[in-house]
Symmetry: C2
Subunit: 186 residues, 2 copies
DNA sequence: CAGTTTTATGCAATTTATTGCATATTGAGT
DNA sequence: ACTCAATATGCAATAAATTGCATAAAACTG
């Protein structure tokens, strides 16, 4: 009961096919949830069986047919109920930080490199999110209600990303001193 | 291949029983990984079978016997190898942000409440982590190598927490305006 | 026209995580 | 003696997520 809610959230405004959903997860919702297409297709079947989504096959010109999913009334009320329930904190579960607990002279350079890689990925993301923010959420007070929620989520993602970039720089500075120690011995 | 590494990381310095590990996960490593005791016990069996951990039953006065696990040489080298491999970014997967995409007049108050609850939880955590930081990581430059890594992880956790608190305040301010709109339109 | 990429959907197997239950010792409270 | 809480370990069932493979239509590439 987790990916299902993320999927149904993505379907709140636009009806979509599994393929389109997989793409949407890579961008907008991707900050808060990641899912492979296999998982999405499986989940869509379950949700349709439960009566929360409706399937409709749509023929396309120049492309294979697609199956578009739309929220049913039952689906919408299930979502409304879910929002009013309590959610639990979910830990990061990021290997990178666990790896840092294993820091040694022998792996300091590698960890610095991994952090550099993460930094770049985050930069690219932030660029995208900042663009979305400027384009669609420039004046948050003027937004309709639901959009304000999306804005808040986006804001959390951007802030987290910026903090992460700053941390990367700090981490790399410290790792550089660890790594440097070694080179004057050999 | 994920919880196993977190467990073995926790065993780097101290040998521990499953019960003790479960507790350790709630505090120190808990920022980056959460696991139930069932999962930990299962994983410990697997790791022992693989030859990465060694079991030893220890009788205790006034308490039931415990089974203490220690890293083997094979375990240590498996860890060293793992650190040198590449890790992938892992998304947050937090319900709260997905819920925000569903913001409406009807649930704004509830979401503000949930955010308030999260804020309090984070405050308590930060209090604990700041205490650890002041006590054991006051002067990061003077730390031995491995400890510097732990410090960096801790720092990331603290920074993330602080950012989250600030975001909570901002979010609640915006949610308050959403909620207030309703009362004068009635 | 053969080969690759993009769009589009799916099954099967395995691994990982959660939920619920079961067991057993010891100490403290009533 | 009975109950409760903390310590300590585990099984079984289910749910969720990952990995690998399979299919197929159309467009673009050479």
């Amino acid at each position: 009961m987790a990916l299902s809610h993320a999927i149904m959230t993505a379907l709140l405004e636009d009806d979509m096919s599994g393929y389109e959903l997989a793409k949407a997860f890579d961008i907008s919702l991707g900050l808060f949830w990641r899912a492979s297409h296999q998982q999405i297709y499986q989940e869509l079947h379950k949700l349709a069986d439960r009566g929360w989504l409706q399937r409709e096959t749509v023929a396309q010109a120049g492309k294979p047919d697609k199956i578009v999913y739309a929220l049913t009334e039952a689906g919408r009320s299930a979502m409304a109920e879910w929002v009013m329930g309590n959610s639990r904190v979910q830990e990061g579960k990021d290997d990178l930080f666990v790896k840092l607990y294993n820091l040694a002279e022998s792996n300091a350079a590698h960890l610095a490199m991994e952090i550099g890689h993460r930094r770049e990925q985050m930069m690219q993301r932030l660029y995208l999110y900042e663009k979305i923010r400027r384009r669609h959420y420039a004046d948050p007070t003027a937004l309709p209600v639901r959009r304000k929620g999306v804005f808040l989520a986006l804001l959390a993602g951007i802030r987290q990303g910026e903090h992460f970039l700053a941390w990367c720089d700090e981490a790399q500075a410290i790792l550089a001193t660890v790594d440097g120690k070694e080179s004057d011995g050999g």
